[in-house]
């Protein structure tokens, strides 16, 4: 029917072209009546039989079969909720009645459109067969904002036509010729769009718009007060709500963020394992600086690849974010590319993490209490140590009890019987059954808790949110922990055009490191030594290996205490709806007091005069920061043009100071009170550092959208910083981005399964300020002591006036998509970062005769980092009505980097790398992550020696550094997280498994604890493979060289292994209690319960020791949240 009708229509239209005007009019009239009469045609029937079909799909089907658009002007029906329908040639009228009856809705059919609306709206004749007057109506209206103030620039379009208008400054609009039944769509940025149908006899209307709220994903919060509508944003930014982060784990936001976003990488710290006091190393989209150059790290007090953290609009620190109470977090936005980060200019090359805390809300006082409880179990499964008998056998096989090795090690002339007697004494211990498992001694299973209480409420004008949280996070090494408490008091005042927010937070942090010291000491303790805590040495008489348990004195102290206050005040003044000013100021101050005390009986003081035994160090460090900003925002819609312009200026002053003194010489048994000390260290003097940095910025940002289809972003920022050097105070940064909302284009409008398809690309320049305080001018410092001529100044830093600031050009390309009503969604991105020039310390790069030391910085070469990341979600079950949703997702990331323009300038660093046994090389075309070593053909079964492969492919027994080639790359070919969440009513189950494939790793456990066990290392316990898998007799096919060979093994490809692993990062189960009776009687509004396991398993292709100085932990935790 529909097809026939359209065919007739087309034919008539074609005819009309050749007819006279009168005839045309007649035909038009006829046409109109035809059109208008269509709904009354009794032939309109619906044929649809399907279970679990959404209303949206039903409406589309109706359109397909009848040609009528369906508009729903009611929220009684969710278009995504599902029902079962069965119509077989049912008349449209009956079908609609059947669909709408349960919701008490009615419909009218006007102007080729079925409008479904609430009956209570206005009683209308149910039988609109006789058409109302076809006369044009002069229609006018007025659009108001949430405060009933006129809204200028709102657009009003008439559905199905190209008629469009906008409100004037009084919020008024006029349509001189419309017909009753026309459907109006009123929209304005930041407000929910409103649909209304022109009623007969209606000539004017007043519409109040509702602020768009709660739809977190729709706005990109940049932390600068310049927020963008996601739909019209061309940059790459991911937002995660606090609740989403909490579904992954309850430890800290960084752990959760790494699981959720593929571009946010927490670099594995194998030494520190799960040490709660070890700050994570974070990389967003790879590296932009040379990180591992000798002594560069010491000079640059922060990691040059760390992203910038913004908390509630002001710059924050990694530690503050790490310790932040997750229950306060409203959202975290990760800004990755130039278009999104150029707002931060000189600080943005490594990405920006924007954290917003929950804001005060109007309404009754609401109390929310959260308890997070967790249980950590040390994960020692990667340790593969020898037992007592194995260790003794290993010692014997390696020749410890024979001259000359025995003599070397025991340090005195040794006859065979003396060696034998040592061996026999040890054997007696082993036979007696001594087999001490040292690694379990310093660790324990530990319980941690966090309690968080938040109170929020207030009137429409004054709202508060106040809270306090306490956390006691214990580590798996005995005595290590991190205790925090924090309080926050947030106040919002809004009236008329003013909105003022004040946030005050106070934090206190106490960290304790384990008195047991490094876990490696316990892993190295010999199992045939009986456990005791009274002897300073494990091998009394020989005194070669210190007893780690003896050194774990109860008096030792390694503690730091931090107290911080953070106050920020922000105000928004809205002049008109298209112009507003926002300003803010923030002040933060923290003070850290660190104390370390090593008691005098520690083995490190053996041989030291008593007046120097024992050491006490006290340090005080403080940070002060004051900053302020002012932003003016202007937004305007001219018909199809949407324009937003922001101008912002900011200013910041930070000050860091640190001082430390040391005292030595303590009596035995004292508790580290410095008043017991005998002395200051010989020649020691107080350490003191002060650094002040001032920065300013002027920012302009422009955001333009044409018809919501073509998008343009541009940002320019002029940064001024005292760190740039006196001749070069200002640096410009900028970005330009383009986007195309394909799904809004006419040619895709008819493809109904595409909800969103956006292409975006941007390019821009950002800087990296983490690279320390370079100075273009020379700096002198005062020397210790004086001469009779007075004090002396030393040239500590030679200025480099020609130094170029390290800038990064970043290009990003991405596509966002959402198909089938949200069943499939995700994004794919590709980026290319070009950092040029690199800044590098002269240390090792210039001959020392130039006199330039580590603090002289020069430009060398460049670094290109490319990468791609994606995040794809698919929901096989998607029933929002009944809350049954199953989503599976896959995130992935890959980056690869290469140096360029270095030439032979850093060949010396490569030579140094060779002498310091480093695997990294600086070579054009190669990656910083490449592993360099000589290729190995394995162990010769005849001799037990290693066979090396020369560059020309021939084999040799002789190791030659000239044969070093690239043997692998530590970057995985792909890594990411496989995730699956399942929600059934109030139950949710989440699963996040990290995969990492195709990377290579230098297995240091093999290199240092299976081979390369030098004569000084033989007194410590080793990996069991040193005994079981090393070559012993001719004919043995072994992976490791002869057990008797104590000579140094050079680094070869034999120790480089494929690193494929799967980590059970998070498994969670949560339940939302909705039992009305229970809740009502306990006064609880909502009650959420969740259980998690984190890092519960790891499947990997290599056997290496993980957690060298501090072991890893497996975590089980519970979370309870109740609001009253």
């Amino acid at each position: 029917m529909y097809k026939i009708f359209t065919r007739i229509l087309c034919r008539q239209f074609t005819l009309a072209l050749n007819l006279g005007p009168q005839l045309k009019f007649a035909i038009a009239l006829l046409l109109f009546s035809l059109v208008y009469n269509v709904p009354s045609a009794s032939a309109q029937t619906i044929k649809l039989k399907k279970n679990k079909i959404t209303y949206d799909q039903i409406f589309r089907e109706i359109k397909k079969q009848t040609g009528l658009d369906v508009i729903l002007v009611s929220n009684k029906i969710q278009t995504t909720s599902k029902i079962d329908v069965s119509f077989s040639d049912t008349p449209l009228k009956d079908a609609l009645d059947e669909l709408l009856r349960p919701y008490h809705l009615e419909y009218i059919i006007q102007n080729k459109t079925i409008v479904i609306r609430e009956i209570s709206l206005k009683p209308v004749s149910r039988n609109p067969v006789s058409p109302p007057s076809l006369q044009k109506v002069y229609f006018q209206g007025r659009v108001l904002d949430e405060n009933k103030k006129p809204l200028q620039g709102a657009t009003i379009t008439i559905k199905g036509t190209n008629k469009v208008t906008a409100t004037d400054k009084n919020g008024n609009f006029v349509f001189p010729d419309v017909y009753p039944g026309d459907v109006f769509i009123i929209s304005f940025i930041g407000y929910n769009s409103t649909t209304l149908v022109l009623q007969p006899n209606q000539t004017d209307i007043e519409v109040q718009m509702v602020l768009e709220q709660g739809k977190l994903g729709d706005v990109v919060i940049t932390g600068t007060g310049i927020n963008r509508k996601r739909e019209s944003f061309t940059g790459s930014a991911e937002t995660f709500s606090g609740d989403k982060l909490k579904t992954v784990g309850n430890k800290n936001v960084i752990e959760s963020l790494k699981t959720l976003d593929p571009a946010f990488i927490v670099v594995t710290n194998n030494a520190q394992g799960s040490n709660p006091n070890s700050a994570p190393t974070i990389q967003v989209r790879g590296e932009t600086g040379i990180n591992n150059t000798t002594s560069l790290n010491a000079q640059f007090n922060s990691n040059p690849n760390q992203p910038l953290f913004i908390l509630d609009g002001f710059e924050s620190t990694l530690q503050a974010i790490y310790d932040l109470d997750m229950n306060r977090v409203a959202s975290i936005t990760l800004l990755k590319d130039a278009a999104s980060t150029a707002l931060y200019g000189a600080k943005a090359a490594n990405g920006v993490v924007v954290v917003e805390t929950k804001k005060p809300l109007p309404g009754q006082l609401q109390i929310s209490y959260t308890a997070d409880l967790s249980f950590d179990v040390p994960d020692l499964s990667s340790y593969n140590l020898m037992n007592a008998a194995q260790k003794l056998q290993f010692e014997k096989l390696s020749g410890l009890y024979n001259t000359p090795l025995g003599e070397n090690i025991f340090g005195k002339p040794q006859t065979q019987w003396q060696s034998d007697s040592i061996y026999n004494a040890r054997l007696a211990q082993v036979v007696r059954g001594v087999n001490t498992d040292w690694i379990v001694i310093p660790v324990h299973q530990v319980f941690s808790e966090r309690h968080s209480l938040q109170v929020a409420g207030g009137s429409n004008e004054i709202m508060i949110r106040a809270g306090i949280d306490y956390r006691n996070q214990n580590g798996v090494m005995k005595g290590s922990g991190r205790d925090t408490w924090a309080g926050n008091f947030d106040l919002t005042y809004r009236k008329g055009k003013i909105n003022v927010t004040n946030i005050l937070t106070v934090t206190n942090l106490v960290t304790n490191n384990s008195p047991y010291g490094s876990f490696a000491n316990f892993a190295g303790a010999n199992p045939y030594a009986p456990k005791n805590s009274t002897s300073p040495y494990l091998d009394p008489g020989e005194n070669l290996a210190a007893n780690p348990l003896y050194n774990a004195s109860p008096y030792s102290i390694s503690q730091s205490k931090t107290f911080g206050v953070n106050e920020s005040l922000q105000a928004i003044y809205t002049f008109t709806n298209d112009f507003r000013i926002q300003g803010g100021t923030s002040f933060s101050k923290d003070k850290t007091n660190g104390v370390s005390f090593i008691p005098p009986n520690n083995t490190q003081f053996i041989g030291v005069t008593p007046a120097q035994q024992g050491s006490y160090k006290d340090s005080i460090g403080g940070n002060n920061a004051v900053s302020a900003y002012l932003t003016a925002s202007y937004a305007k819609v001219f018909k199809k043009h949407q324009l937003t312009v922001n101008v912002r200026s900011d200013i910041e002053s930070t000050n860091f100071d640190f001082s430390q003194f040391e005292a030595v010489g303590f009596p035995y048994g004292t508790d580290g009170n410095p008043s017991f000390a005998y002395n200051y260290p010989t020649g020691g003097r107080p350490v003191s550092t002060t650094a002040t940095t001032h920065t300013t910025g002027l920012l302009g940002s422009l955001n333009y959208a044409y018809d919501g289809r073509i998008l343009l972003d541009a940002t320019y920022r002029l940064d001024g910083a005292s760190t740039f050097g006196a001749n070069n105070l200002y640096q410009p940064y900028y970005s330009v981005g383009l986007g195309w909302n394909l799904h809004k284009e006419a040619f895709l409008k008819s493809v109904t399964w595409i909800d969103l398809l956006k292409l975006r690309a941007n390019i821009g320049y950002t800087g990296n300020e983490n690279l320390g305080q370079f100075t273009s001018t020379s700096i002198y410092t005062f020397l210790q002591g004086t001469s009779p001529f007075g004090q002396g100044l030393a040239l500590s830093t030679l200025g480099n006036p020609n130094l170029d600031w390290q800038n990064t050009r970043q290009a990003s390309y991405g596509v966002d998509f959402q198909f089938m009503n949200g069943k499939i969604s995700g994004y794919v991105e590709y980026f290319n970062k070009f950092t040029n020039p690199l800044a590098i310390s002269a240390n090792g790069a210039l001959p020392t005769s130039t006199g330039a030391n580590a603090s002289y910085v020069l430009n060398v070469g460049n670094l290109t980092t490319q990468g791609a990341d994606f995040n794809i979600r698919y929901s096989p079950v998607y029933n929002l009505k009944d809350r049954i949703i199953w989503t599976v997702g896959l995130t992935g990331q890959r980056t690869w980097s290469r140096y360029g323009g270095i030439g032979s300038k850093l060949s010396s660093l490569n030579t140094l790398a060779l002498t310091s046994n480093s695997l990294a090389r600086y070579q054009d075309g190669h990656s910083p992550d490449d592993i360099w070593a000589v290729k190995s053909a394995g162990i010769d079964p005849a001799t037990g020696q290693e066979i090396f492969i020369k560059k020309d492919g021939t084999q040799t027994f002789i190791y030659n550094p000239d044969d070093i080639v690239r043997v692998g790359n530590t970057q995985p070919a792909i890594q990411g997280v496989i995730n699956s969440t399942f929600t059934y009513k109030n139950f949710s189950v989440g699963m996040y498994v990290r995969y990492s494939l195709g990377g290579a790793v230098f297995n240091s456990a093999l290199y240092t604890k299976v081979e390369n066990i030098s004569s000084s290392q033989i007194v410590f316990n080793q990996d069991a493979r040193a005994l079981t898998e090393r070559w012993q007799a001719p004919g043995d096919v072994a992976q490791f060289k002869a057990i008797s060979l104590l000579t140094t093994t050079p680094m070869t490809s034999r120790f480089v292994e494929k690193d494929n692993h799967f980590d059970g990062e998070s498994f969670s189960l949560s339940y939302r209690l909705t039992n009305q009776w229970l809740l009502h009687n306990l006064g609880i509004q909502t009650l959420n319960l969740a259980a998690y396991t984190n890092e519960i398993f790891r499947i990997e292709s290599i056997l290496s020791e993980r957690g060298i100085d501090y072991p890893y932990a497996r975590t089980v935790s519970f979370s309870l949240n109740a609001s009253f």
């Binding site: 005062f782 040239l795 130039t850």
Partner: protein, 484 residues
């Protein structure tokens, strides 16, 4: 809101933003705290003086002339100390490639060139300061002369340590010579080019110091006036001349060495009188460094800390740096009349019983003596040795040598002394005079002795007296060669 007010407010914001940024330039110029920028230093005369002091202080650091280049490492290379210490025996065996010895020579190299950089920076900036009127041109000239002299002095000793033996390989690769503070790598010169650079710098320094107050007023050791006092603790006009003579001699240009030494011999005798016997012997505060004869020395605040760490009789026999009694007796030919013997050496007791204690750098009872903490680097006697070695007339040669001997409590050499014996006697003087002053190894190197007496053998076996073959050229450190 009407349009006027809106535009007004926009202007207001623009103005505010501009104000913030307009005031910025000053706001952004943050002076580093606890540090001085170059501009601050060279805009104030006191700070300029402190910058020059810094160069002297660095010279007196243990990495350079506070220890390594005077009494520890360099004297070990000269076979001065008994090999009771592990560290010393490395140098005595000329093992330059062990990690510890590499680190030591690298620290000498790095510290010296870092200080040369500071000197170059000073030399560049002092002109600017003088032009700006911060410092009078007279004072600027004097300080610049000192800085250029110090630059030559440090380069010369680097050449003597890391360069080849001049006698056999004058064109062998030696060291780079830096005259600019710009961190630009300079080529490694051969030994002759390097010594020419040293001499050129000394010539410049000599001209700049031509009105050095020392010429008219002497060293004036009682005063520490920055420009006229204690000139012997500064690289003065006569230090330049003495270093010139030393450099000519090292190059093998005996005629110029002789002529240079002679030009100022009268002045040397006038301003640097010979030691008075009673100031050394039977004195509660013996002047063991022979301060009046010192042409150039530096204030070394670590001198007595070092003494306690290396030479003190309270150390154990494996810690102390010492010479065996046989060595000391051999060197001083058992002649206790020699002031240098009696003043410098004492017999150990307790933990060091039976050992000789090197007392030259022991502290004084009276802390106000002007020579306290002074490390001598160039002394007058060396000029007499230079003349004794280079003078064409044997009689004059003997005269020069006997002048020193007479002033040390020794009798004249017999008039029958032959030329060959004279050379041996000069060598003996170097032995006696410069113990703990780092000259003997360079003397051996200059003479290119194939064998020298070995400390390991106590100096005591006459038939195998010359029994260790020194390796004279210390290889350039890896930190220098690898980035090239």
């Amino acid at each position: 809101m009407n349009r006027d007010m809106k535009s007004k407010s926009i202007y207001l914001i623009m103005a505010a933003a501009l104000l913030i940024l307009g005031g910025c330039k000053k706001f952004l110029e943050v002076q580093p705290q606890g540090k001085y920028t170059q501009d601050q230093v060279f805009s104030n005369e006191i700070a300029i003086q402190q910058a020059l002091n810094g160069i002297y202080n660095n010279i007196a650091s243990n990495n350079l002339y506070g220890a390594n280049l005077t009494n520890t490492v360099i004297e070990s290379l000269g076979q001065r100390w008994a090999p009771n210490q592990q560290a010393i025996s490395l140098y005595q065996a000329y093992t330059y490639t062990k990690t510890t010895s590499e680190a030591t020579f690298e620290s000498i190299w790095t510290s010296a060139y870092a200080n040369i950089l500071q000197a170059n920076q000073f030399i560049q900036q002092i002109d600017v300061a003088a032009k700006n009127g911060v410092i009078s041109s007279q004072h600027a000239t004097e300080l610049k002369g000192e800085a250029i002299g110090l630059r030559a002095f440090m380069h010369f000793d680097l050449l003597r340590l890391f360069g080849p033996v001049m006698k056999t390989s004058p064109t062998g690769a030696a060291i780079p010579y830096y005259t600019k503070a710009d961190a630009v790598t300079r080529p490694i010169l051969n030994a002759t080019q390097a010594i020419d650079s040293v001499l050129a710098d000394l010539n410049t320094a000599k001209n700049l110091l031509s009105s050095d107050p020392i010429i008219t007023k002497g060293p004036d050791t009682t005063s520490h006036d920055y420009y006229v006092g204690s000139r012997n603790q500064r690289f003065n006009y006569y230090a330049v001349i003495a270093l010139q003579a030393r450099a000519y001699l090292y190059e093998g240009d005996n005629a110029d060495a002789n002529a240079t030494a002679k030009t100022a011999l009268a002045a040397f005798d006038k301003w640097f009188p010979w030691m008075v016997y009673t100031d050394i012997v039977n004195n509660a505060n013996p002047d063991r460094i022979f301060a009046p004869e010192m042409i150039f020395g530096v204030y070394n605040p670590n001198m007595y800390v070092n003494y306690l760490a290396y030479f003190s009789p309270t150390l154990t026999s494996t810690q102390i740096v010492t010479a065996t009694p046989t060595m000391v007796q051999t060197v001083f030919e058992n002649n206790t009349n020699d002031y240098r013997y009696s003043s410098t050496w004492a017999t150990g007791t307790g933990t060091t019983a039976g050992l000789e204690i090197f007392n030259k750098y022991a502290d004084l009872t009276d802390a106000t003596r002007p020579w306290r903490f002074i490390q001598p680097l160039i002394r007058k006697s060396e000029l007499y040795y230079i003349l004794a070695e280079t003078d064409p007339s044997l009689t004059s040669q003997l005269n020069y040598l006997n002048t020193v001997r007479n002033n040390r409590g020794l009798a004249n050499l017999p008039t029958t002394t032959t030329n060959a014996t004279l050379i041996t006697e000069i060598q003996k003087e170097y032995w006696k005079e410069f113990w703990g002053e780092g000259q003997i190894f360079f003397y051996y190197k200059r003479m290119n002795f194939q064998y020298v007496p070995s400390a390991a053998n106590d100096y005591n076996s006459s038939d195998t007296f010359y029994e260790i073959s020194p390796i004279y050229q210390v290889p350039l450190p890896l930190s220098e060669t690898t980035p090239r």
